[in-house]
């Protein structure tokens, strides 16, 4: 059996094991152990615990559980509803502004929380009923939150980008900074579509139960609504400035942000002891799950390399003599399809060891590719069959049929595809900002 045939067999077996429902971490470890045993002999298994341990033994990885802790602390508080309220008071008076406010709330909350499904759930829980009460069609209400939630993996700090950075050896700080401009462009595009789609459909004159403004809110009302969420936004801004200025490493920034988030939630929301217990367990569960996936994917990458699959794939791509953009087009189509089946974390960790050598051969900037890949994975989050955000929205708005949620997401998927085209034509939109970083 040639190395390439072996690679196809490994990828096929991995897909099968994951589709059956074996958790990604255990699935990748199981496949690696079985293939090492059969194709490299029992002696090769000695490396298994060493490789898994070394994969999680690094300073950069400290950022991951700390940002997870930050997201869990803020997610468990009432910050999401306060954020939604503040966004509505600032933006709700413009035509179709309620949808725009929800998209903005998603963007801001995702910056604090870093997780797409958590953002969609937190903002959608209050946002969807309010939009529907104002006459926003269910498909638009669901689609906007579904798509807005995907911004969680693009707008920094993003757990997905930390994993991409660790997997590829790319600067996490640069990836964070690189996500800012594309994130803002996509928020503007989503908002413009929301205003267009809301024309004539939304009853902007109906006041809501939550004292929602139908006219431009007074400055003092806006200030009062923003007061509770401003510290959280300043916290994220501070982390980004520290990373941008080279003042702190991502792990140091994450430590400061996690500690300040705990203090802010204590001071602003005064939660009870039970909530802290839940937050602690939830943060540990998510961190353990992510770190076990990273450890197992390290073993998976080691297996592919030991069996010469990675090298053969790279050689095949070089021998094919493709134009670099034809290669990139093929990679994008593959990621688009694979992203419909695999969650972002798995996609990065399974695919990157295979394609990174070719990306480097074709001279693609890994920071640029990290952002583009993140947008491709955003599309996967809102497309069937495993689009997590679709099911999150169905869970919080069970009376909206899945068909309508899907229908509402389609225009946002098109916008994300157009964004990828734009960033491919003008890569500077992604690479310019991180290029200015201190130490960059």
């Amino acid at each position: 059996m040639s190395e390439l045939e072996l690679g196809v067999l490994i990828l096929g077996a991995t897909t099968l094991v994951l589709l059956v429902g074996v958790p990604i971490s255990y699935g990748l470890a199981a496949i690696s152990i079985v293939f090492l045993l059969i194709f490299a002999g029992p002696a090769s298994l000695v490396a298994v615990p060493r490789v898994m341990f070394e994969e999680v033994n690094g300073f950069a990885l400290l950022a991951l559980p700390m940002f997870v802790l930050l997201g869990s602390v803020v997610g468990a508080s009432r910050a999401s509803s306060d954020l939604n309220d503040a966004a509505q008071r600032w933006l709700g008076w413009i035509p179709g502004g309620l949808v725009v406010a929800n998209i903005a709330a998603c963007a801001l909350f995702s910056a604090i929380c870093g997780s797409s499904p958590a953002t969609a759930a937190a903002i959608g829980r209050s946002g969807i009923p309010e939009m529907r009460a104002r006459g926003v069609p269910p498909w638009l209400a669901a689609g906007s939150i579904c798509a807005g939630g995907t911004l969680g993996i693009l707008i920094p700090p993003s757990v997905t980008m930390i994993i991409y950075g660790i997997s590829t050896g790319t600067s996490i700080g640069k990836l964070f900074v690189a996500g800012i401009v594309p994130g803002l462009i996509i928020v503007v595009a989503f908002s413009a579509y929301a205003i267009y789609a809301s024309r004539g459909r939304v009853d902007d004159a109906t006041p809501l139960a939550t004292d929602f403004p139908v006219a431009p809110a007074h400055a003092s009302t806006r200030a009062a609504a923003s007061l509770r969420v401003l510290p959280f936004l300043m916290l994220i801004a501070m982390v980004l400035v520290a990373l941008y200025g080279g003042i702190a490493t991502p792990s140091e920034g994450a430590a400061v942000a996690a500690l300040l988030a705990v203090v802010l939630v204590l001071v602003i929301y005064r939660p009870g002891l039970a909530l802290w217990r839940d937050v602690g367990r939830e943060a540990m569960r998510d961190s353990a799950m992510l770190l076990l996936i990273i450890a197992a994917s390290g073993l998976f990458a080691y297996t592919l390399s030991l069996l010469y699959v990675t090298q053969s794939f790279g050689e095949m791509m070089s021998a094919a003599g493709l134009h670099r953009w034809v290669f990139m087009g093929l990679v994008m189509v593959f990621l688009l399809i694979a992203g419909c089946f695999l969650p972002p974390v798995a996609l990065i960790l399974v695919v990157m060891p295979l394609i990174q050598p070719s990306l480097e051969t074709y001279n693609f900037d890994l920071v640029w590719f990290g952002v583009v890949m993140t947008i491709l994975m955003e599309i996967g989050l809102i497309t069937p069959p495993v689009g997590v955000n679709l099911f999150v929205i169905q869970g919080i708005a069970p009376d909206i049929p899945l068909r309508q949620i899907l229908l509402g997401s389609v225009p946002f998927v098109i916008l994300l595809v157009l964004a990828i085209v734009l960033f491919s034509l003008v890569p500077g939109l992604i690479t310019w900002f991180p290029g200015l970083m201190v130490g960059g």
Binding site: G21, I24, I33, V48, P49, M66, M284, P385
Partner: protein
Amino acid sequence: MNGRASGCGFAGFARVASFTALWAACAMILTVILVLNHMIIVRLLGEPIVWHLELAIYLTIGAFFLGTPYAVLSRGDVAIDLLSALLPARKGQWLRVAVLLVMLATAAYLVWSGLGRTLEAMHSNLRSTSLWGPLLWPVYASMPLGLALACLQMLAEISDAISRLGGEDRQ
């Protein structure tokens, strides 16, 4: 704690998983403090303290492995549940048992191989190559310990799933 496996004499495992997750969370808070302390001291004195960051990394590794039983208990592992959602309830339950068996076999192998590495480090007095140079076996031990607890939780889940299937048969 969701107590799914509590009716089968496995409630103790769930309590242990929950307890270790809380201790792991405390270790994470300590890690945050260590990183902050290191950051402040480096900025003030201009010299890095070796043991702060190394201890923070080891605490994170320990916390992560000790958090795995709770991830099993709360079904926190990332998985594609598409097939089980499409299958009828009973077949879905059998699939869940099969998935848990694959997880158990994998975790059991990792416990065994991790234990071998820990004992080897213990016997050879293996230390970190840093200036601080702590013994490495306690760090290595977190892998077999955490995953052994995860194995027990998987056994509880398998028992729970099989007893549910048995209950359906009796009905």
